[in-house]
C-alpha cells in the first residue's frame, strides 16, 4: 500500500441536502396526479433516508474505496482452492456486448439465438473438458452446483424406488459439501483421511452400504493431492449403488490431464470463477455449472438449452422428472460469456498448459518453503500445496500472524486454517498466471517471516502496519453487531 492520506468516509457522510447525481428524462406522457393512479396507502409518505451526493462525490468516494482493496490486478493472491488467476480483460469486453448485456431473459427464442447458441456450446465444451454427458449452466455458484448435483442423485435413487439417507464426505472437505448435503435432506457421515492425506479406503469400506446415497470428494483433494486410488473408490461405491460426486473446485490441476467422467464420477460441478477466470468481484457473482452422466439426465434443472433438429436453439421445459430450478432464470449468463471467451482463447493446448504450469508453480513454492515450514504431505503436490506453521507456533507465531505480516510485504495471504486436518495450515495456490519472479518474491517473504519468527517475532505480532486498519476486533463485531449506518 502506497502512503496516502487515510480515507474513512461512508457515502452517507458525504451527503448534503440538495445535491444529486442522477439524470432523468422529463415526463413526456400526459401527467396525472399520482394519487389518482396509485392509492395513497401504497405510496411512501416520507422519502427513504438515502444520500444526496453529486456525481463527483460518487466517483471520488468509490475510487478511494477501491484503493483500499488488494485485487489480483495489483497483488499476488495465493489463496488455496480459490484459483485467483488473472481475469482476462477481453472477457469483460465480450460480456458487455450490447447483444448480450442488454438482452432480457424472456426475449423470444427466435430473437435470442446467439445467447442460446453460446450457452449450448459452452455446455458442450464443459462436458468435453470433464468427460461428462450433459452440463447444466443454471447454478449461480459452486454451492448451488453442488446442491443441484446432490438433488439429482436423490431424485435418481427415488426413481429406482430407493430412499437413501446418508452422504459420505471426507474430513478434509470444504464446508459447502456438508452444508449442501444437509440442505438436500441427507445426514452427513464424515470419513477419515489416511496418513498420506488421501481417503482412508478401509474407513470408506466400513461406511459404504445401501443407505448411502453418495460419496462426495474433491479431486485433487484439499491437500493438493490427487486421490490416486480413485478408480477403486468409484468401483467400491458403484458396487453398492452409491453415486460419486466430484467437487470441481480444484479443476485447475487437471485440465487436459484427466477427466472426472473417465474416473468413474457420476456428477461434478465447475466453479467458473476459479478455473475459468470469471472475476471474483469481491465475493461474487460466480457460476457453478454441474455435469452429469446420462443416467441422471432426466433430473436436470429446467429449462435445458437444446439444439433442435433444424439447427436452432431453444429452452426445453418439458422435463417432468426435473429437480426443478435453482434460480429464476437460465444461469449467470454474464459469467457464461466470460468463461466461453476464455475457453475459445485458450483452446485445448492452452488449457493443458494451464494445468501444467499450475502444478509446476505450486511444486516450486513447496520446494522453496520446505526448509522453513512443515510440509503437510510427502511427494509432489498438484496445483496447490499445504504447509503447516506449527514450528512457528511453538515460537508464538500463528498462521494468522504470518498472514498479516504478508500483507505488509505486499502479498495477499494464503488460506489459513484450512483444511481442518492440518494444524496452523497455510494453503497456497499460486495458479499458472504467476511468473517465477513473483513466486520467488513470495517465497523470499515467507522465508523472511520464518526468520523473523526466530529473531524478532514482535514484528510479526504487530503486523499489519501498512494497511488502512489493523487487527480488527472481531469479537466486538460479533457481540454487538452493527450492521448498518445510522445517523449519529
Amino acid at each position: 500500500m502506497e502512503a496516502r492520506a487515510p480515507y474513512d468516509k461512508l457515502i452517507f457522510e458525504l451527503s448534503a441536502p440538495g445535491r444529486f447525481a442522477y439524470s432523468l428524462p422529463a415526463l413526456d406522457v400526459p401527467s396525472a396526479d399520482p394519487a389518482s393512479l396509485v392509492p395513497a396507502q401504497f405510496v411512501r409518505s416520507t422519502p427513504p433516508e438515502l444520500p444526496e451526493v453529486s456525481e463527483v462525490d460518487v466517483i471520488r468516494h468509490y475510487s478511494r474505496l477501491s484503493l483500499m482493496n488488494y485485487g489480483v490486478d495489483t497483488h499476488f493472491y495465493p489463496l488455496g482452492s480459490c484459483t485467483m488467476k488473472y481475469n482476462p480483460k477481453i472477457n469483460e469486453d465480450m460480456a458487455r456486448l450490447p447483444g448480450f448485456l442488454r438482452l432480457h431473459p424472456h426475449t423470444p427464442a427466435t430473437a435470442s439465438q446467439g445467447a442460446l447458441q453460446l450457452m449450448w456450446e459452452l455446455a458442450r465444451d464443459l462436458a468435453e473438458i470433464s468427460g461428462m454427458d450433459h452440463v447444466s449452466l443454471q447454478p449461480a455458484a459452486g454451492a448451488q452446483g453442488e446442491f443441484a448435483g446432490v438433488l439429482m442423485i436423490r431424485a435418481y435413487h427415488l426413481s429406482r424406488g430407493e430412499r437413501r439417507h446418508k452422504v459420505l464426505i471426507p474430513d478434509s472437505a470444504h464446508g459447502t459439501n456438508p452444508a449442501t448435503t444437509a440442505l438436500a435432506g441427507f445426514s452427513v457421515v464424515q470419513l477419515k483421511s489416511d496418513e498420506a492425506g488421501e481417503v482412508d479406503l478401509a474407513d470408506l469400506e466400513r461406511h459404504l452400504d445401501e443407505d448411502v446415497a453418495a460419496f462426495m470428494i474433491t479431486q485433487p483433494n484439499t491437500l493438493g493431492l490427487f486421490e490416486s486410488r480413485i478408480h477403486q473408490i468409484t468401483e467400491m461405491c458403484h458396487a453398492k449403488g452409491v453415486q460419486v460426486y466430484m467437487d470441481g473446485a480444484n479443476f485447475n490441476a487437471i485440465l487436459g490431464i484427466t477427466r472426472p467422467g473417465d474416473l468413474g464420477f457420476d456428477v461434478c460441478h465447475f466453479n467458473l470463477h476459479k478455473t475459468f477466470t470469471t472475476p471474483h468481484g469481491g465475493g461474487g457473482p460466480g457460476a457453478g455449472p454441474v455435469g452429469i452422466k446420462a443416467h441422471l439426465a432426466p433430473f436436470l434443472p429446467t429449462p435445458v438449452v437444446v439444439k433442435e433438429d433444424e439447427g436452432g436453439y431453444a429452452l426445453d421445459w418439458a422435463r417432468p422428472q426435473s429437480i426443478g430450478k435453482l434460480q429464476a432464470f437460465w444461469g449467470n449468463f454474464g459469467m457464461l460469456v466470460r468463461a466461453y471467451t476464455y475457453i475459445r482463447t485458450m483452446g485445448p493446448d492452452g488449457l493443458r498448459a494451464v494445468s501444467d504450469n499450475a502444478v509446476l508453480n505450486a511444486n516450486y513454492i513447496l520446494k522453496r518453503l520446505e526448509g522453513d515450514y512443515d510440509r503437510a504431505t510427502a511427494g509432489p503436490c498438484m496445483h496447490e500445496c499445504v504447509v503447516s506453521a506449527r514450528r512457528q507456533k511453538k515460537l508464538g507465531v500463528s498462521a494468522t500472524d504470518i498472514a498479516k505480516r504478508l500483507l505488509d510485504l505486499g502479498f495477499y495471504a494464503p488460506t489459513t486454517y484450512f483444511p481442518l486436518i492440518v494444524d496452523e495450515a497455510l494453503m497456497i495456490e499460486p495458479t499458472e498466471t504467476e511468473s517465477k519472479e513473483t513466486l520467488d518474491q513470495f517465497c523470499d517473504a515467507m522465508v523472511q517471516i520464518a526468520r523473523e519468527a526466530e529473531t524478532d517475532p514482535h514484528k510479526i505480532h504487530e503486523a499489519p502496519v501498512t494497511t488502512p486498519v489493523r487487527r480488527l476486533d472481531q469479537t466486538l463485531a460479533a457481540r454487538q453487531p452493527v450492521l448498518k449506518w445510522t445517523r449519529p
Partner: protein, 447 residues
C-alpha cells in the same frame, strides 16, 4: 500463451530446483489409467480479433434493449443504468478482489457492502439486510427456509400472485426438508383474503406474497400481515427494491422478512444473470439469517473498520448445521446497486417511481383502448399490468417483434388459464413514442 508468464527456460530452472525431470514427473500420482490419452476435443485457440468477430456475430443475433423497445418484465427490468457504475465497478481493485476474509486488505469491499446493507434495510423498511443472495428467487427460498427454522413449523402458505418461476425454485429448495407449499388463489389480481384467512393455521411457518405481485397488482400487505401474525406465522414479502423508493416499504406494513430481485438497481439484464438477491429481516432474526453480513468494529488503534461478522452461521464454520450452504454473495452486483442508490439518492428513486407510474398507466390506457384488448385485472397496479388479448399472445409478440418491439411475456407457459394473457412492463425508459408505436402495432396485430 499470453496469460502464462513462465518461459521454457524458466520452467527448466524451476524443475531443476524441484528436482523433477519434467512436469510429467510431477503428475506421477495420477495413474496412467486415469490419464487422458488425447488432447481435449475443443475448437482451436482463437486470436483475439477473430474471437471478437465471432462473439459479435453471436451477440448480433439477439434483440437487445438498445435496438428494441423492451416491454418485458416478469422479474427482470429495463431500468436506466447511470454511466458512472460501469466505470467504477470495472476498477480492478473491486472486480478482481476476493471475498473479504482478510479485512485489512479488503476495506474497500467491506465498506461498500456495509453501505449496501444500510441502503437495502432502508428501502425495504427492515432492521437489517445481508450482503446479498444469488437472485430474488433463491433469496425467497432462503427466506422460506428461515421462517421454518424460526417457527419450527412445516407449512408455507403461498399466494398465486408470486412469480411462478420463484415457486419452482422454492419447491426445489424445500425438497430436502420436505416442506409443503399451500397455494391461495387470487381475486381480481390480488390474493383473496378470505381464502388466505382459511389457509393460514398454527402449522404455517410463512405466508408469502409478492409486492407488486407477478401481475403488477398491489397487494394489501397490512391485511395479509394481520392474518399471518394472528396464527403466529411470519410474513415473507418478495419485493422489487427499485420500486421501494416510491412505494410504501413492506417493513412499514408488517413484513418479517423481505426478499427480492435487485436487478433493477443498476444491474444489467444480461439474459437473466447474474442477478442480485436482496434479503432483509427484523433485528431479532439476525442470527438466523443466511448469507454474509458485514459489521462495523474498531481496530487495534481504535480506528473504525469493517469485518465479516456472525460468520459462525456460515458453511465454512457451521458446516452441516449452517443456516444455508451459500458461500458467495453477488458482491459486484451489490456494488452496482450501492452506486446506483448513491446516484439516485433520496429523491431520485421517487422520481423513477413517478415516471414509471405515469408511463405505465398511460400505456395501459392506450393499449386497453385497442378494440378487443382489455386489462386483465382491476386492482391498482405499478410498473406492470396484464392484458387479455383477442388473439394468441405468442402471435402478437411475433408480429410486434418485426416493429422492433419486445411486446411482453405471454403467460400461457406459466398457467394454462392465462393463455390469452400478455404481461407488459413499462419502466421510466419507455418513451411516449415507443408506447404510441406499440399501441398502433397492437391495433394492427389484433384487427
Amino acid at each position: 500463451m499470453r496469460y502464462i508468464s513462465n518461459t521454457p527456460a524458466q520452467q527448466k530452472e524451476m524443475l531443476a530446483r524441484i528436482g523433477a525431470a519434467s512436469i510429467e514427473a510431477l503428475l506421477a500420482n495420477v495413474p496412467a489409467k486415469a490419464r487422458l490419452s488425447r488432447p481435449l476435443n475443443l475448437p482451436a485457440a482463437m486470436a483475439e480479433g477473430d474471437l471478437v468477430r465471432h462473439l459479435r456475430g453471436l451477440a448480433g443475433k439477439n434483440a437487445g434493449a438498445d435496438d428494441f423497445a423492451c416491454f418485458l418484465g416478469a422479474g427482470s427490468y429495463d431500468h436506466a443504468i447511470p454511466s458512472p457504475i460501469n466505470h467504477l465497478i470495472s476498477r480492478g481493485e473491486f472486480f478482481t478482489a476476493y471475498t473479504p476474509y482478510q479485512p485489512e486488505a479488503s476495506q474497500g469491499t467491506l465498506r461498500t457492502i456495509f453501505e449496501y446493507q444500510t441502503m437495502m434495510a432502508e428501502l425495504t423498511g427492515m432492521d437489517v439486510a445481508n450482503a446479498s443472495i444469488y437472485d430474488g428467487a433463491s433469496s425467497l427460498a432462503e427466506g422460506v427456509l428461515m421462517a421454518h427454522s424460526v417457527t419450527g413449523r412445516a407449512e408455507t402458505v403461498w399466494s398465486r400472485g408470486v412469480n411462478p418461476l420463484y415457486q419452482q425454485v422454492v419447491e426445489t429448495y424445500c425438497e430436502g426438508p420436505d416442506f409443503r407449499l399451500k397455494a391461495v388463489r387470487l381475486g381480481d389480481g390480488v390474493t383473496d383474503l378470505d381464502a388466505l384467512g382459511k389457509a393460514v393455521t398454527e402449522r404455517t411457518a410463512a405466508v408469502v406474497v409478492q409486492y407488486p405481485n407477478f401481475y403488477g397488482c398491489l397487494e394489501d400487505l397490512r391485511a395479509v400481515a394481520e392474518l399471518a401474525h394472528a396464527k403466529g406465522a411470519l410474513l415473507v414479502v418478495a419485493a422489487d427494491p427499485v420500486n421501494l423508493g416510491f412505494l410504501t416499504p413492506p417493513g412499514a406494513l408488517g413484513a418479517d422478512i423481505v426478499v427480492g430481485e435487485g436487478q433493477g438497481l443498476g444491474v444489467p439484464m444480461s439474459f437473466g444473470g447474474p442477478n442480485l438477491g436482496v434479503f432483509a429481516a427484523r433485528a431479532d432474526l439476525v442470527r438466523r439469517m443466511p448469507g454474509r453480513l458485514v459489521g462495523a468494529t474498531v481496530d487495534k488503534d481504535g480506528k473504525r473498520g469493517f469485518v465479516l461478522t456472525l460468520q459462525t452461521r456460515e458453511q465454512h464454520i457451521r458446516r452441516e448445521k449452517a443456516t444455508s450452504n451459500i458461500c458467495t454473495n453477488v458482491a459486484l452486483c451489490a456494488l452496482m446497486a450501492t452506486i446506483y442508490v448513491s446516484i439516485l439518492g433520496k429523491h431520485g428513486l421517487r422520481k423513477v417511481g413517478e415516471l414509471t407510474t405515469a408511463k405505465a398507466h398511460y400505456a395501459a390506457e392506450r393499449f386497453a383502448a385497442v378494440p378487443g384488448v382489455r386489462l386483465r385485472y382491476g386492482a391498482p397496479f405499478f410498473k406492470e399490468f396484464a392484458l387479455t388479448l383477442p388473439k394468441a399472445p405468442d402471435r402478437v409478440v411475433k408480429r410486434l417483434l418485426k416493429e422492433r418491439l419486445l411486446a411482453g411475456v405471454p403467460l400461457k407457459s406459466f398457467d394454462r388459464a392465462e393463455k390469452s394473457t400478455l404481461l407488459v412492463a413499462v419502466t421510466e425508459r419507455r418513451t411516449k413514442d415507443e408506447i404510441d408505436a406499440y399501441a398502433a402495432a397492437l391495433a394492427a396485430a389484433v384487427a
